[in-house]
Amino acid sequence: MKILLVEDDEETADYVSDGLKREGHVIDRAANGRDGLFLAAAQPYDVMVVDRLLPGLDGLALVKIIRAADIKTPVLFLTAVDGVSDRVEGLEGGADDYLVKPFAFAELAARVNALARRPALTQPGSVRRVGDLEIDLTRRSCRHGDRKIELQPREFRLLEYLMRHPGQVVTRTMLLEHVWDFHFDPRTTVVETHISRLRGKLGSGENEQVIIETVRGAGYRLRDVPKMG
């Protein structure tokens, strides 16, 4: 994936770009808003990672400009400030996601991947399918293999979110924010508990193909494990 990183703090920039390179991505770097704008306009990227506070042209203005120029590249804001109104302002300005410093690299990587691939666009209609797991968005129903599964509303939304990012790591924070609108870190293991419930309902994996696996230090991943024979 081709990623544009606009970040003026060199330590953060090194951290991010080294990590992303290790994952196999190609990184272009800019240290201020104007250079970032220049690069963004010059070539297409899969994802842009932009620091909100930049010398000169700041991140929010940069994103507004590229959106006005009809550049639809997904943008992830990095910021040292966690004001709630800043988040709203950033998202309304055209960013797609928001990450507060300091962050763990796994968090950034998961969000970048989630932004870059939008499988929802490739599956029209109201049915989502991953392997032999199928959900109907309008009827709010779910089948795994040949078994019908009863899900509560929030379990359904949890599964739907996982199915929107099949094979990708989804972090706890992403689940908290995007499934439950919880923009804080609960001290209890609510996410783990919900995931293990969902796992139980999806089946033990003997007959079914799709499982939710735990990725240590990062989050969870919905995986299609096709059975042989």
């Binding site: 800043d86 507060v100 609960p186 209890t188 293991t189 230090g217």
Partner: protein, 443 residues
């Protein structure tokens, strides 16, 4: 009222002075007239009884002035004059009531001033003059001052009232502005009257208070900066520490000892915990100092309560606890949705964590009638002893019974900060028969 009283007293003193001065002067005058007339007659006729009697008769005949006379001998026999013989006439001055002059239209007796002059043979020569004028003067002064005092008291009352009202009004303006400032807007300043009247006392007061506020604002800003800087400064090395650990983990290969890898994972998890604590601290400071302008919108509190119950129910069930909601629908409040969600979630989390297995926890939301909505979270756990209830909202405070259990002691501090921002009152009470009941009353 005090001023009216002072005014009244000063008017009274003035009145008394004038009264005495005037009446004394007139009284002295009357006495002097009597003495002069006596001296004139004595000079004319000597002090022999017969001589004086003759002079008196002559004076009466000529109707000289409005004096009345009496001459009597040592035995008490009247020799001349038109005064009635009264036993207690004596030498020197005295007063007596006598019928008014024949020509006067008054029925009432007048007060007469009397001068007695002893005669050579033991007799007594009395001259009397109508002192009615003195009485009239007295009455006149009293009446005038009566009206004057009444008018003065009235004006003083009104004037004092107006003055007090104006003073109170200025003070009220200052009070209200102060309340607004303490309510959070540290940048507001007290109004200084701009009528061009240079510095009256209230303007000086307001000016001084404004300068105090400038200083306070700078100090608060400085403090906020300091705590923000501290948290920020500690976060950065901690984040770097975490990054290094992550790098160690990432670069570890299959030959690495599993125990070491686990140790690194644990270290990373602990670093995450610490960073999360810092984030919570900074968030609390941010809310308390109103650093960012929080924009309030209409928030569906019912939806938040429902969400919290649904999200935390599995966690409660892991401890075989029952988490249920009795939530009225469509209860809206003004606030910040994300912060309110965090507040309700923190309280629920607290309840789950600090009650034993098998406990039951209820989240109830009722629309208010005379006030705003009421959100109560009650459990049947051990509760919080009444002596500790004030303490639990302090940062990092842990009850002795909770030490060692997970949690950083900031959850309720954040609840308190968010509640205060929204004007929500938080009350802790004993739940019946035992347990904790937290009541959030929205404005």
């Amino acid at each position: 009222m005090l001023y009216a009283g002072l005014f009244g007293i000063s008017v009274g003193v003035l009145f008394a002075l004038i009264y005495w001065a005037a009446t004394d002067a007139l009284s002295d005058r009357i006495d002097q007239d009597l003495a002069i007339q006596r001296d004139a007659l004595v000079a004319q006729a000597g002090t022999a009884e017969s001589g004086i009697a003759g002079a008196v008769a002559g004076a009466l005949q000529r109707s000289q002035g409005d004096f009345r006379y009496l001459v009597r001998d040592a035995a008490g026999t009247t020799l001349a004059g038109n005064l009635p013989a009264v036993a207690n006439w004596h030498a020197g001055y005295q007063d007596a009531e006598l019928p008014a002059d024949a020509g006067s239209s008054e029925e009432e007796p007048h007060v007469f001033r009397i001068l007695g002059q002893p005669l050579a043979q033991g007799g007594l020569f009395i001259i009397a003059q109508d002192a009615h004028a003195l009485e009239e003067l007295r009455e006149l002064i009293v009446r005038a001052f009566g009206w004057g005092a009444a008018a003065t008291l009235l004006l003083a009352g009104i004037g004092g009232g107006i003055m007090v009202w104006r003073v109170r009004h200025r003070i009220e303006v200052i009070n209200r502005a102060s309340e607004r400032i303490m309510g959070g807007d540290l940048s507001e300043r007290l109004p200084v009257s701009s009528r061009g009247v240079p510095g009256d006392e209230f303007d000086r007061l307001a000016d001084n208070l404004n300068r105090m506020l400038d200083r306070i604002e700078k100090l608060v800003e400085g403090m906020r900066q300091v705590s923000t800087d501290i948290a920020h400064d500690l976060r950065t090395p901690l984040a770097r520490l975490r990054r290094n650990l992550e790098a160690v983990r990432a670069n570890a290969d299959e030959r690495a000892c599993p125990a070491h890898l686990t140790a690194v994972d644990n270290a990373v998890a602990q670093a995450n915990d610490l960073l999360s604590t810092f984030a919570a601290l900074l968030r609390i400071a941010q809310i308390e100092s109103r650093a960012s302008r929080f924009v309030f919108t209409a928030v569906d509190l019912s939806a938040i309560a429902d969400a919290v119950v649904e999200v935390y129910r599995p966690a409660a069930e892991e401890k075989r606890q029952e988490l249920e909601g009795q939530i009225a629908a469509s209860v809206y409040v003004a606030g910040d949705r994300l912060l309110l969600t965090q507040m309700v979630a923190n309280i629920a989390e607290n309840a789950i964590r600090h009650t034993p297995e098998g406990a039951s926890i209820t989240v109830a939301l009722r629309p208010g009638s005379t006030h705003g909505p009421l959100l109560t979270i009650s459990d049947n756990g051990p509760g919080i002893p009444s002596g500790e209830r004030g303490n639990v909202f302090r940062r990092f405070y842990r009850l002795d019974t909770s030490r060692g259990s997970p949690g950083n002691g900031l959850g309720l501090s954040l609840v308190a900060a968010i509640a205060e921002l929204h004007g929500v009152s938080v009350r802790l009470a004993e739940n019946m028969p035992h347990g904790l009941k937290i009541t959030l009353a929205f404005p």
